[in-house]
Symmetry: C2
DNA sequence: CCTGAAAACAGACCCCC
DNA sequence: GGGGGTCTGTTTTCAGG
């Protein structure tokens, strides 16, 4: 399942991350190759799951999503059943953009994007009514300093 | 600068978020319109900045980026100069995928994606050597439960 | 603002190197 | 595994309702 990526593959990934609407010829030019090899490598990396979804980045403000919260969650429950319910809830909620299970004191972190504080409270109330939670801290973002989907691509090993 | 988005626009945005590689005909079919109007709306929304970058989602594991940290930062410095330096540092660092200035006790939160704990420490050392920071808590992700770039699109007002 | 056709263009697949 | 050409389908443009 693990694919070996050479320098050319990595350059192609960098170009696709930067702008997936580029033509094969453009990408080929920038990475110093030509159409066919670039196309073959992209196809292989798609099949291998290295390249996932092609998508578009939208402006949250333009959609009226002015509030972004990071939510730190502590729980006392650690049974499989509770966890299953909790994960289901998170995945079903489109305002939850990210959710991670953590090591240490804090059990989970969420990133939640909503129109306003009121909408966050609706989410919060819905969440705690569905699953028992010990402690919640919400951190409100005042300013998005940086937000990128582009992963840092390390050199080939 | 704020554009008015009707239901059709919102449906188109939903489709583009889900899969930006769909053809205009496919999108048109799904949203109940046809090629040209869909194309005109997409063009307008691009110009207005509602639609940004077209990109590709890569698998962090396939690139050997196995460690994801959320970093909570408290600082005692709040001068413009310090802040400028801090922001520059964050923006220059490709392993920082997200950075927000927060309201409340904690001043900043970062999301940092790196190959391993060692690489995180390198980042941490570099950061504290460049700017004075009062207190740092790193939260290590054990499991990515959910990660999406798709914003929840609220109905038209 | 939408429909439908026409022109320009890029992606997918081929054979040759 | 790369280079170049060709065919097919899609994007983009435009005249007209």
């Amino acid at each position: 399942m693990t694919v070996r990526l050479d320098e050319l593959d990595r350059k192609i990934l960098g170009e696709l991350q930067a702008d997936a609407s580029q033509t094969l010829d453009e990408i080929a030019g920038k990475v110093g190759s030509s159409k066919t090899p670039v196309w073959n490598r992209i196809r292989k990396m798609r099949e291998a799951g290295v390249i996932g979804q092609t998508t578009v980045i939208l402006d949250p403000e333009a959609l009226g999503l002015e509030a972004c919260f990071f939510v730190l969650i502590r729980t006392s429950e650690h049974e499989t059943d509770w966890q299953r319910k909790f994960l289901e809830t998170l995945r079903a909620r489109p305002e939850v953009l990210e959710a991670h299970r953590l090591a240490g004191e804090i059990d989970y972190i969420l990133k939640v994007q909503v129109p306003n504080a009121r909408a966050y409270d609706d989410f919060y109330q819905a969440l705690i009514s569905e699953v028992r939670i010990f402690n919640v801290t919400a951190l409100l973002s005042m300013e998005r300093i940086k937000a990128t989907t582009a992963l840092p691509i390390p050199p080939a090993r």
